[in-house]
């Protein structure tokens, strides 16, 4: 096991592709994405129920090898979050080498 940073990004589904672009731009090779997520925050309630899916959120999990890489990801996605809202949490974890 190797220490790593676990980043969790909650953002509107319509912005998922933009987040992926940010990750690619930072050469982050891996992420996991859960669609169809609901939530509530400063910008009101977001329900995964409208027929266009515009109102639903998604959740990214990104395991970063180093604090520096995590910092780069955070810096890259922060402008998206500032404009559109959302949440980004960073925590410590151990990555199981295989």
């Amino acid at each position: 096991m190797r220490p790593c940073k676990r980043i969790e990004i909650i953002i509107e589904s319509v912005l998922a592709d933009r987040v992926i672009e940010c990750l690619h731009a930072e050469n982050v090779s891996g992420y996991t994405l859960i669609h169809g997520v609901s939530g509530q925050g400063g910008r009101g309630q977001r329900l995964d129920d409208d027929p266009a899916g515009t109102a639903s959120n998604c959740l990214f999990v990104v395991a970063c090898d180093s604090a520096a890489e995590a910092e780069a990801v955070v810096t890259a996605v922060r402008p998206l979050l500032t404009r559109s809202g959302g949440v980004c949490l960073v925590s410590d974890a151990a990555y199981v080498k295989h």
């Binding site: 319509v14 910008r43 129920d49 266009a52 515009t54 109102a55």
Partner: protein
């Protein structure tokens, strides 16, 4: 045949819409699973597009067609301008622009509900009105965002940058516009023979699926109502009754303008009503998606709640039969 709200009130699609609203208001927890609801919405676009294309393939392109389409596009450009002028001093400018885009564009489901209203009454309407609908989805987004940009430049306010190619892409190549246009093209290519193959799906089931979809829309619309009156944390404020007047009055105004235009151009009863419904309806599929990408500063709690929670129900329940009465009144009172 009399046009009255009462006669419309025995129509299953409308009644299921109301049932959905009630289901949410009395908190039954009834819900169409979201992935299925999205599919039903795609089905309606697919079916209406294909039918429109097949109808087009049976006709020549003539002046009647051209003037209908031109009027439609004209409305899609003028309505958002008007909306912005009305709202820019009453709301934060990004919200005014977002509402301009929303109300300048159209609601495909309102259109589809109106075609079903016409079909039940055996009133004919033209296949090219589907093209009119598709053409009206995008321009308002461009106009709304353009006005916003202009306003910012005037104020030497440069906080937001909008990428023009991205905006055009979001406006013209979004999923729902593409599906209607594509299905229409396929209907047009494959014609009556294609229709024979798939009519059990797109004609036979249409009304029934519309009922289920409107049940869902009732549920979804009613869920947006409380949000309209909630104060939001980030200072975006309470909008309340002033906005309600806009969400009910502006569609009525647009429908009236559209009906007068339609009358002057000599459109038939069905097409006039459809044009009015297009002008009166507000988008909650194509536009919100584009706005979240291009104008995320605007508050979706405002434009989505108003279009989905107020204007959509108003048009479905009151608007369609009302605009229909107005058409009849114009045709009978002022024959050309």
């Amino acid at each position: 045949m009399e046009i009255s709200f009462l006669s419309n009130l025995t129509s299953p699609p409308l009644l299921f819409f109301i049932l959905g609203t009630v289901a949410t208001l009395v908190r039954t927890g009834l819900e169409i699973p979201p992935q299925v609801a999205r599919f039903l919405s795609l089905y309606l676009l697919f079916a209406i597009g294909f039918k429109g294309g097949v109808a087009l393939s049976a006709n020549e392109i003539d002046t009647y067609l051209l003037k209908s389409l031109l009027t439609a596009v004209l409305l899609a450009i003028v309505v958002p301008l008007l909306a912005f002028l009305l709202l820019r001093n009453r709301l934060p400018v990004q919200d005014a622009a977002a509402l301009a885009a929303t109300y300048g564009s159209v609601s495909a489901v309102t259109f589809v509900t109106c075609t079903s209203y016409l079909d039940t009454r055996d009133i004919i309407w033209s296949g090219h009105m589907v093209a009119a609908m598709a053409l009206m989805e995008s321009p308002a987004i461009i106009v709304g965002l353009g006005l916003y940009r202009l306003h910012q430049v005037r104020q030497n306010n440069q906080t937001t940058e909008i990428s023009v190619p991205a905006l055009l892409h979001e406006s013209f190549l979004n999923g729902s516009v593409f599906l209607v246009m594509g299905s229409m093209a396929i209907g047009w290519i494959s014609g009556a023979e294609g229709m024979a193959q798939i009519s059990p799906l797109i004609v036979g089931l249409f009304s029934g699926v519309l009922c289920l979809f409107l049940l869902d829309m009732g549920i979804v619309a009613a869920r947006r109502l409380p949000g309209l009156f909630e104060r939001q944390e980030n200072g975006k404020g309470v909008f309340g009754y002033g906005m309600l007047v806009f969400a009910l009055g502006f569609p009525l105004f647009n429908a009236s303008v559209a009906l007068v235009l339609a009358h002057l151009l000599g459109l038939n009863e069905g097409d006039s009503l459809l044009l009015a419904v297009l002008a009166a309806s507000a988008s909650y599929i194509a536009v919100p998606a584009a706005l979240r990408l291009s104008l995320p500063e605007a508050n979706p709690g405002l434009y989505l709640s108003l279009s989905l929670g107020v204007t959509f129900p108003f048009n479905i329940i009151v608007g369609i039969p009302l605009y229909h009465s107005l058409t009849r009144f114009l045709n009978q009172g002022f024959p050309l």
